[in-house]
């Protein structure tokens, strides 16, 4: 096999690219973007329905659209893109052939078939059970079957990735340790294997139950194991998008990690502790002890949160160090002011970092506190939180790196550059608004996954406070903004991939700007010379916000009915 592998050399980065791996990256990325478009459309319909003044869809269609939205964007878009990231971080970054390309194509086909099957079944209308499909509510067998096929395909992708690492090691295509980005991808893939195994443990019996071969699935057991997949799969995203942050900082600014050791340790924390997060969904369920809840919900004393907080300093820190080495040394923030904000890859990456930390990260820790969860569980605060992590964090980061993949992997010049410039801002601010206003509505008690907040058809009357209606209106408006950002992304990327000017074999793309690899900013592993006062200030602001918000919520909790 090795003899027949064809490579090209990338004129921008000097990396050796296996053409088969390149095709697989393209295929996975294209399908990912298609499902982002489909899932995003469903999301817009959901947001317009929850806008009380618009109330767009009828109830049955609303629940259908919400089921499809969750599946298509939370699972299909993200996992397809992650498989592309895995192949990029192994085969391309290590300059080696992809292991077992036939298996990789098989995995791709299984994922595609699975995604299509589940979508069709959901659209038939008898499986509006939400992405979580809590038993004893039953979907059609095809719903579970599609997810299982998809997961098996993704598992094959992970093993092709691991195989490629072995190939690179054996054929000595790199020296020393794997790059940090590859290390992050390994983290994501290891968590993915755990995730998919948990999914199989619970979804295979559920499939058998839905066709009548198993008589009973315990709802509490289902929910516990389902979330070992459902929440852990979001930790794949965290590991993957942190790796993407490092990759973009390196490719756009030539930034080096401040310390390889610290960044790698932080990734290791994810592998060791993130899987405990299933507990976040079980804090107000019957049958768990407080000891179990406290240990698991805090990832064993917040050690995985520690990992993220470390990345929250090392990523902007490496950017600041790189910019200062270029001579942008005035004051605290010249390095940030004069960062390439017109480059959509950088703008998207930096916003992803800020929103993930401030919105998604803080809210996640607060909501995952054993007792505070009582005043947030299953309100709109929950989707508010995870739109901050998965959309403003992961999706925005993946969009950002796509602007680099189009010229480097698809070998096309980026089209519509003015639109591309604005896209991350429109999408990022839209999603940040969605997250914040849903969290606000949740604080006022508004339920998630709920068609009618006026309760017009209910047997007993009930009214949410009017501020909650305002929140949901604003949520709808920012959803439109985010949807516009999403449309721009699709237009720019699909347009460029199919109609952008083809780059010549040795031609470097003119946009977005990437310094040649040689211009990488020198060592700042040396502890003595490192100066990153701007980052210290940003991290300080983050920390103060975190502490204040944390205790404000304890205050809120102390005001509700005493419970014991």
């Amino acid at each position: 096999m090795a003899k027949t592998t064809e490579f090209r050399t990338c004129p921008t980065t000097g990396l050796k690219v296996d053409l088969t791996a390149e095709k697989l990256i393209k295929a996975n990325a294209v399908v990912a973007v298609v499902f982002l478009a489909i899932g995003g459309l469903f999301g817009l319909l959901v947001a317009l329905t929850r806008w009380p003044a618009v109330h767009f869809l009828p109830a049955d269609w609303f629940y259908l659209a919400l089921t499809a939205h969750g599946f298509d964007v939370l699972l299909v878009w993200i996992i397809f893109f992650e498989i592309a990231v895995l192949y990029f971080a192994s085969s391309v970054l290590l300059g080696c052939r992809l292991a077992a390309p036939r298996w990789a194509w098989t995995g791709f086909a299984l994922m595609l078939v699975g995604a299509v099957v589940t979508n069709i079944v959901v659209l038939q209308g008898q499986s509006s059970v939400m992405f979580t499909s809590y038993v004893p509510m039953k979907a059609e067998p095809g719903f579970y079957l599609g997810i299982i096929l998809f997961a098996v395909g993704a598992l094959i992708g992970c093993f092709v990735f691991f195989g490629t690492l072995v190939v690179a090691r054996q054929e000595r295509t790199y020296e020393g340790s794997v790059p940090l980005v590859t290390f992050g991808a390994i983290t994501a893939a290891i968590i993915a294997v755990f995730t998919i195994a948990s999914g199989a443990i619970i979804l295979v019996p559920t499939l058998l139950w839905s066709v009548g071969l198993v008589s009973h699935i315990d709802p509490l057991v289902y929910k516990t194991i389902w979330w070992a997949m459902g929440h852990s799969s979001q930790q794949i995203n965290v590991a993957a998008h942190v790796a993407v942050w490092y990759a973009i900082a390196a490719m756009v600014l030539g930034a080096r990690p401040i310390s390889e050791k610290v960044s790698r340790m932080a990734f290791l924390m994810y592998i060791l502790f993130l899987q405990l997060a299933s507990a976040h969904h079980m804090l107000v369920e019957p049958g768990f002890s407080s000891e179990w809840k406290i240990f698991n919900t805090s990832y064993a004393m917040y050690l995985a949160v520690l990992g993220s907080m470390i990345h929250g300093m090392t990523v902007p820190g490496s950017i600041e160090a790189a910019q200062r080495a270029r001579g942008l040394t005035k004051g605290l923030f010249e390095w940030l002011r004069k960062a390439p904000w017109g480059n959509p890859a950088f703008a998207g990456m930096f916003m992803s970092l800020v929103f993930f930390g401030f919105i998604g990260g803080i809210s996640g820790v607060v909501m995952g506190t054993e007792q505070i969860n009582l005043i947030m569980h299953n309100t709109l605060y929950v989707p508010g939180h995870f739109h901050g992590t998965v959309v403003a964090g992961t999706t925005l980061a993946f969009m950002a790196i796509t602007y680099l993949l189009v010229p480097l992997i698809f070998r096309r010049e980026l089209m519509f550059r003015k639109l591309a410039r604005w896209q991350p801002y429109l999408f990022g601010i839209g999603v940040a608004g969605i997250s914040v206003f849903m969290m606000g509505a949740g604080t006022l008690g508004v339920s998630r996954r709920h068609w009618d907040m006026t309760f017009a058809d209910a047997q007993l009357p009930f009214d949410y406070p009017s501020a909650a209606f305002l929140m949901m209106g604003l949520n709808g408006m920012f959803a439109i903004l985010a949807a516009l950002g999403g449309v721009l992304f699709i237009v720019v990327v699909v347009g460029s991939v199919f109609f952008g000017r083809k780059l010549g074999v040795d031609e470097k793309p003119s946009y977005p700007e990437m310094p040649p690899a040689a211009a990488a900013v020198g060592e700042h592993g040396s502890a003595g010379t490192l100066k990153i006062p701007g980052t210290v200030m940003l991290v300080g602001i983050f920390f103060v916000a975190f502490v204040l918000y944390y205790f404000v919520n304890w205050k809120y909790l102390s005001e509700v009915w005493p419970l014991s």
């Binding site: 629940y63 340790s177 490092y246 310390s259 917040y302 470390i310 007792q371 569980h377 047997q459 592993g525």
Partner: protein
């Protein structure tokens, strides 16, 4: 760069910059504070779940609830019985497609043992406007000791999706002086 192997082969022996080390220590300490805050609240705070729970069949839970309803119903409202059980007693709330049954009337500053269970699918007990949210499973009975500390009319919204009538599932609790 992060996309190339570390230039220093022995990267794990490089010293850690002071600023990084300080942040790691601060972040770790903050994690400990948050961890022990949850334990502290079990002693000092008033809002903790008891974690008292039992397995129970829907029929059994239904029977027990009905016994309470038969004994303590004081009036009817929109076809719902309004039940005023004695202070300090065990009270039952049934979650089912798509009702919270019955309407409970409680006395302010009295303590009750509230039993929650579902007869069919999963539901979410969301007491408004206080915003107390507890998951309700079929086959499991959760016992929460509550002490309403303000009089008034409270709504119970279902906040776990339970099918096409989910948004119509509203219940009520009265708290009287």
């Amino acid at each position: 760069m992060a996309i190339t192997p570390p230039p220093q082969r022995i990267w794990w022996k490089e010293p850690i910059a002071k600023v990084e080390l300080s942040w790691i220590i601060i972040a770790f300490t903050w994690g400990l504070v948050m961890f022990f805050m949850m334990i502290y609240w079990h002693g000092a705070g008033e809002q903790n779940l008891s974690n008292e729970a039992y397995k129970i069949s829907p029929e059994r839970f239904s029977e027990r609830s009905q016994a309470m309803i038969d004994e303590y119903t004081i009036r009817e409202e929109n076809y719902f019985p309004v039940v005023h059980p004695p202070a300090g007693s065990d009270i039952y709330l049934i979650a089912r497609l798509w009702q919270w049954w019955p309407i409970l009337e409680l006395e302010k500053d009295e303590t009750y043992r509230l039993h929650l269970s579902s007869l069919d699918w999963m539901h979410g007990f969301s007491l408004q406007p206080v915003n107390i949210n507890v998951q309700v499973h079929p086959g499991y009975e959760m016992v929460v000791t509550v002490k309403p500390d303000k009089a008034g009319e409270y709504g119970i919204v279902c906040n776990e999706y339970c099918g096409i009538g989910h948004h119509m599932m509203v219940g009520k609790i009265y708290v009287v002086e």
